[in-house]
C-alpha cells in the first residue's frame, strides 16, 4: 500500500499540487484521473521519486520514501516497475535485452536463468515473437507490452503506469488495460495508473482519485463515479458522450424502476 500525506509541490512559486492526501491499496488498480495539466503526472513523478515534493510524506508500506537512506532507497526502487507514456524502451537494445536489463543490473541469477525469466515475462505479455526485434521495428502497442514486461521482470511490489493507453487504438488500449489488471491481481501489486481515459477507468479502475488544478477533488470506487455529486468530477467525466449516454440510460432505468 502507498499513502500520500499532505503532499505539496511548487515550481518557481507556482503551486502544482496542493495538500494531496490519498491511499493506494495493494492488489488493486488505483487510478489517478484529471484533465491535462491538472497535476496528475506531477503527483505520479513525486510518488516514484522523479520529482522531490516541496512538502509532505510518501509512505511505501509504512516506510517514508522521502527520508530513506540511499541504500534503502535503491533497494526499494528494485520493487518498483514503471510504464511510461512513450514506453521509454532502450533504442539500442532488442525487446528481449530491454526486458533482461533490470535482471542484468540487479539479479544474482546466471545468464541462462535471467534469459528464462525475461522470456517468461515476454510470454506473459504475449510478445515472445518480438523478442529479437528492436523498439523501432515494433508497433506502439507492442512497445507498451514490452515496457510492461520490463517493468515486471524483477517481480515488483509497486507498478506505476503513466497514460498507458495514449496513442493506442481502442482494441489495443483494452488489451493493455486488461494486462495491467491481470498482472496486478496475479502478482498482488500496488498499481497506480494515471489516465484521462474514462474507458480505462470503467474497465480496470478499482479505486479512483480525481485531481483538479492540483487539488484532490474526489476519491472513491468506479461505481461511485456515476452517482458522485462533485461538480468538477461530473464536468470531467460527462465531457465524454459515452458517459453522458450511460448516465441518461441509468436515469431512464431508475425512473422505470420507480414507476414499475
Amino acid at each position: 500500500m502507498i499513502e500520500v500525506k499532505h503532499l505539496n509541490k511548487e515550481f518557481d512559486g507556482d503551486k502544482v499540487l496542493n495538500d494531496i492526501n490519498a491511499r493506494f491499496e495493494k492488489g488493486l488498480v488505483n487510478m489517478i484521473i484529471g484533465k491535462s495539466g491538472s497535476g496528475k503526472t506531477v503527483l505520479l513523478k513525486c510518488i516514484v521519486g522523479l520529482l522531490t515534493p516541496t512538502s509532505g510524506d510518501i509512505l511505501y508500506d509504512g516506510r517514508n520514501f522521502l527520508s530513506l537512506k540511499t541504500r534503502e532507497l535503491r533497494r526499494l526502487r528494485r520493487d518498483i516497475g514503471m510504464l511510461f507514456q512513450g514506453s521509454a524502451l532502450f533504442d539500442s537494445r532488442t525487446v528481449l535485452e530491454n526486458v533482461m536489463f533490470p535482471l542484468d543490473m540487479f539479479s544474482r541469477k546466471n545468464n541462462r536463468e535471467r534469459r528464462k525469466r525475461a522470456e517468461f515475462c515476454l510470454e506473459r505479455v504475449g510478445l515472445s515473437e518480438a523478442a529479437d526485434l528492436y523498439p523501432s521495428e515494433i508497433s506502439g502497442g507492442m512497445m507498451k507490452r514490452a515496457a510492461i514486461a520490463r517493468a515486471i521482470s524483477l517481480n515488483p511490489k509497486y507498478l506505476f503506469c503513466d497514460e498507458p493507453n495514449s496513442g493506442l487504438d481502442p482494441k489495443t488500449a483494452q488489451l493493455i488495460d486488461e494486462l495491467i489488471e491481470d498482472l496486478t491481481k496475479d502478482f498482488m501489486m500496488t498499481t497506480i495508473v494515471v489516465s484521462h481515459d474514462m474507458n480505462s477507468v470503467i474497465n480496470i479502475g478499482d479505486r479512483v482519485v480525481f485531481i483538479n488544478e492540483g487539488v484532490k477533488e474526489w476519491e472513491g470506487t468506479k461505481s461511485d463515479i456515476m452517482g458522485a455529486d462533485n461538480e468538477k468530477l461530473n464536468d470531467f467525466v460527462f465531457a465524454s458522450d459515452l458517459f453522458k449516454k450511460i448516465k441518461e440510460a441509468e436515469e431512464i432505468i431508475s425512473e422505470d424502476n420507480k414507476k414499475g
Binding site: 516514484v48 522523479l50 526499494l76 528494485r78 512513450g86 521509454a88 532502450f90 533504442d91 540487479f106
Partner: protein, 249 residues
C-alpha cells in the same frame, strides 16, 4: 550565457562528475558499455584521424618547405619543425578539437535523446546510477583509446610529409627522414599522449554533461550537442595553454 549561469553550470558539472566517477553498479554491464564505447567512439574515429592527419601532415611539410627557405638553415629543418608541430600540437590538440565535433556531439545527442524520451528516468526509477551508467563507460573508453588515435595521427601526419617529399622532391626523402629523426625527444610523445587523454576526458565528460542535463525536445538536444562542441573547443584550447606552460614552460 550569463556569468552566474556559467558558475552554476560548473557547479552542476562538478556534482554530476561526483556521480559519474563512482564504482559502477555492475562491473559486467560497465564492461559491456565500455567495449561498445571503445568501438563507437574510438575505432569508428580512426578513419577521420587517418585522413585528416595524412593531409594536414602533408600540408605542414609543404608549407614549411616553401616558407623556411634560408641558406642559414639546413634543409633537414623542414623535417625537424614538421615533426615537432605534428607530435606536440597537431596530433593531440588539433585532433582533439576535430574529435570534439564528432565524438562530443555523438555523446551529447545520444544521452540527450535518452533524457527527453524518458530512458534516463527509467534507469533512475530502477535505482541505477544513471549518470554513472551512461557517462562513465564513454569517458573511460574514449580516454583509454585516445593513445591509439594519437599514435595513428602522429604516424599518418609524418607519413603525409614523407609522401609530399617523395612527390615534390624538396626536401629530398632522405633529408626529410634525417630531419624527423634529428634531436628527437621521446618525452614529446608521452607529453602528447598524456595531454590528449586529458582532452579525451574533457570531451566525453562535458558532452555527457550537456546530454544528461537536456530539458525539452529535439531542438534542445541539437542545441546541447552544439553547445558541447563549442564549450569543449574553448576548454581544450585553454587547457592546452595552461598545460603547455606547466609542463614545457
Amino acid at each position: 550565457m550569463s556569468f552566474i549561469g556559467s558558475i552554476e553550470n560548473v557547479g552542476v558539472y562538478a556534482l554530476l562528475m561526483r556521480r559519474v566517477l563512482s564504482v559502477p553498479d555492475r562491473m559486467r554491464e560497465f564492461m559491456k558499455e565500455f567495449i561498445k564505447g571503445v568501438y563507437l567512439l574510438g575505432v569508428n574515429s580512426i578513419w577521420i584521424v587517418v585522413i585528416i592527419s595524412f593531409f594536414i601532415g602533408a600540408v605542414i611539410v609543404m608549407q614549411i618547405a616553401l616558407n623556411v627557405d634560408s641558406p642559414m638553415l639546413p634543409r633537414f629543418t623542414v623535417g625537424v619543425v614538421s615533426r615537432e608541430i605534428i607530435l606536440l600540437e597537431f596530433s593531440s590538440t588539433i585532433m582533439c578539437l576535430i574529435l570534439s565535433g564528432k565524438v562530443g556531439s555523438n555523446i551529447a545527442s545520444e544521452i540527450g535523446t535518452m533524457r527527453i524520451t524518458g530512458q534516463v528516468d527509467v534507469l533512475d526509477i530502477m535505482g541505477v546510477n544513471s549518470a554513472n551508467y551512461l557517462i562513465l563507460p564513454k569517458v573511460a573508453a574514449f580516454v583509454a583509446f585516445m593513445p591509439v588515435l594519437v599514435i595513428f595521427s602522429m604516424f599518418m601526419g609524418l607519413f603525409g610529409g614523407y609522401i609530399i617529399c617523395l612527390v615534390l622532391g624538396t626536401p629530398s626523402v632522405e633529408t626529410y627522414i634525417y630531419g624527423i629523426q634529428a634531436f628527437f625527444r621521446e618525452s614529446f610523445i608521452w607529453y602528447s599522449i598524456f595531454k590528449s587523454m586529458l582532452f579525451g576526458f574533457i570531451i566525453a565528460s562535458v558532452a555527457g554533461y550537456f546530454g544528461y542535463t537536456v530539458k525539452g525536445g529535439a531542438l534542445d538536444v541539437g542545441k546541447a550537442s552544439t553547445d558541447s562542441v563549442v564549450i569543449n573547443s574553448i576548454l581544450i584550447l585553454v587547457t592546452d595553454l595552461v598545460f603547455t606552460q606547466l609542463v614545457m614552460g
